[in-house]
């Protein structure tokens, strides 16, 4: 299972981390941040594989959003930068804001740029739509949400994965980083920003004997050594990537 680490491109410690790591494994970058800085160039150059998220959920926060314009610029970026290292691009899965019909229209815009558009199933689309996506969608990666109690109850994840595999699809768990689920369910890939979230709360998460353990820091220490802590947290997350690669 490949774990794609997210949020590196927008991290305040990007330069500090990037100077110290020669090769990354798998990174997930958000189109929203790709327009804000050039960090993606280094990440793309040094990563084994990359996935790109639409960033739609970051983009919409507290704003009136021009969805078509945003999607057009996402498609333009894809046309310019697509390469073999980029496994796929997540669609604009903002069903909860504009509804599935419009999401499908946005998907069409993206599909003009590449066929590597990853559909992200949400419960509002109905379970028949999930089966149909696994059977008939033309690209070989599909995605479901891994956030607890968002679209899928924990006990049914494996069933979803099985159906995807039955139809030859690889399945990505968006934001799925719960160890108890990762150990039981054979997703092909997932993504995680928990390396960064831990730092926000003054801790570094590590995986020891398949259990997540945290090292906590005092506020003062965390403030003075913030970038170093982020760097160590990223290294720990890479260790987790290596560990799960063979699961």
């Amino acid at each position: 299972m490949k774990i794609f680490l997210s949020a590196l491109e927008g991290s305040e410690a990007f330069d500090y981390i990037n100077e110290r790591i020669d090769r990354y494994l798998y990174n997930l970058m958000s189109f929203y941040y790709l327009t804000k800085n050039d960090n993606y160039k280094e990440i793309l150059r040094k990563s084994e594989e990359v996935m790109i998220d639409s960033g739609a959920h970051s983009f919409q926060k507290g704003k009136r959003v021009k969805w078509y314009e945003y999607t057009e610029s996402y498609a333009e970026w894809i046309k310019k930068h697509d390469c073999d290292k980029i496994l796929g691009y997540f669609e604009m899965d903002v069903d909860n804001v504009i509804g599935y019909e419009k999401v499908l229209e946005l998907r069409k815009i993206l599909l003009k740029a590449t066929n590597k558009i990853i559909p992200v199933w949400h419960k509002n689309r109905g379970i028949e739509d999930y089966i149909d996506m696994c059977k008939n969608y033309e690209f070989d990666i599909v995605a479901i949400s891994g956030f607890k109690n968002e679209d899928i109850v924990d006990s049914q994840y494996q069933r979803f994965v099985n159906v995807a595999h039955k139809y030859g699809k690889k399945i990505h768990g968006l934001g799925m980083t719960r160890i108890d689920i990762l150990d039981k369910v054979n997703f092909d890939s997932v993504d995680s920003s928990t390396w960064l979230q831990g730092v926000v709360y003054g801790r570094i998460d590590s995986l020891r004997f398949n259990k997540r353990v945290s090292r906590r820091f005092s506020k003062e220490f965390a403030k003075e050594n913030r970038k170093e802590i982020m760097y160590i947290a990223y290294l720990e997350a890479m260790e987790m990537q290596r560990r799960y690669l063979y699961k």
Binding site: K123, I127, N149, V153, R159, N162, V163, H165, K166
Partner: protein, 165 residues
């Protein structure tokens, strides 16, 4: 650590509290042991207690075998011996199959008429791997169509007024 090629099975003390339930596995293992023999030695501690290989020993007893290759290991104490025994069983679960790769390999074995019942998967599983490159339950799709459970976000209750937020 000492290797004994012909350790007497009747001298082995089984670990009575072994938490692994292996009776079904014993039946599956017998034909494989007949085909390949015991290639992997069992682990016995300094007191003659079996620490890894319970399924093999049960199967060999059923087959009427009197000896087994064994490694005698001196554990620091009983806790270490038990810890090892659990870890030995658990670590097998860590690795996962690359079913696409496995499909290729099984396909090659099939092409040379190798007896596919001798690779540990049952016939139904082999069919699924060869056809779909995956093992899935036949009824997963139907199951989801009929039993998909829409999760409910846990309600947030205001700690002050007790109302739902």
């Amino acid at each position: 650590m000492k290797f004994i090629e012909d350790y007497k099975i009747e001298d082995i003390k089984m670990w009575e509290n072994n938490p692994r339930k292996n009776d079904e596995a014993v039946e599956k293992l017998i034909p494989l042991l007949k085909k390949y023999g015991v290639i992997n030695p069992v682990i016995i501690d300094q007191h003659g207690i079996l620490r890894a290989g319970h399924t093999r020993i049960k199967a060999l007893k059923k087959m009427g075998r009197e000896t087994v290759p064994a490694l005698i290991v001196e554990f620091k104490d009983e806790a270490h011996a038990i810890g090892y025994s659990i870890a030995d069983n658990k670590s097998v679960e860590w690795a996962q199959w690359d079913f696409k790769e496995l499909k290729e390999i099984i396909g090659e074995l099939e092409s040379i008429d190798f007896d596919l019942e001798m690779i540990g998967f049952d016939k139904d599983e082999i069919d699924k791997i060869l056809i779909y490159g995956a093992i899935y339950e036949e009824d997963d799709e139907e199951y989801l169509l009929e039993n998909y459970e829409e999760p409910e976000k846990p309600k947030k209750i205001c700690p002050w007024c007790g109302r739902e937020i």
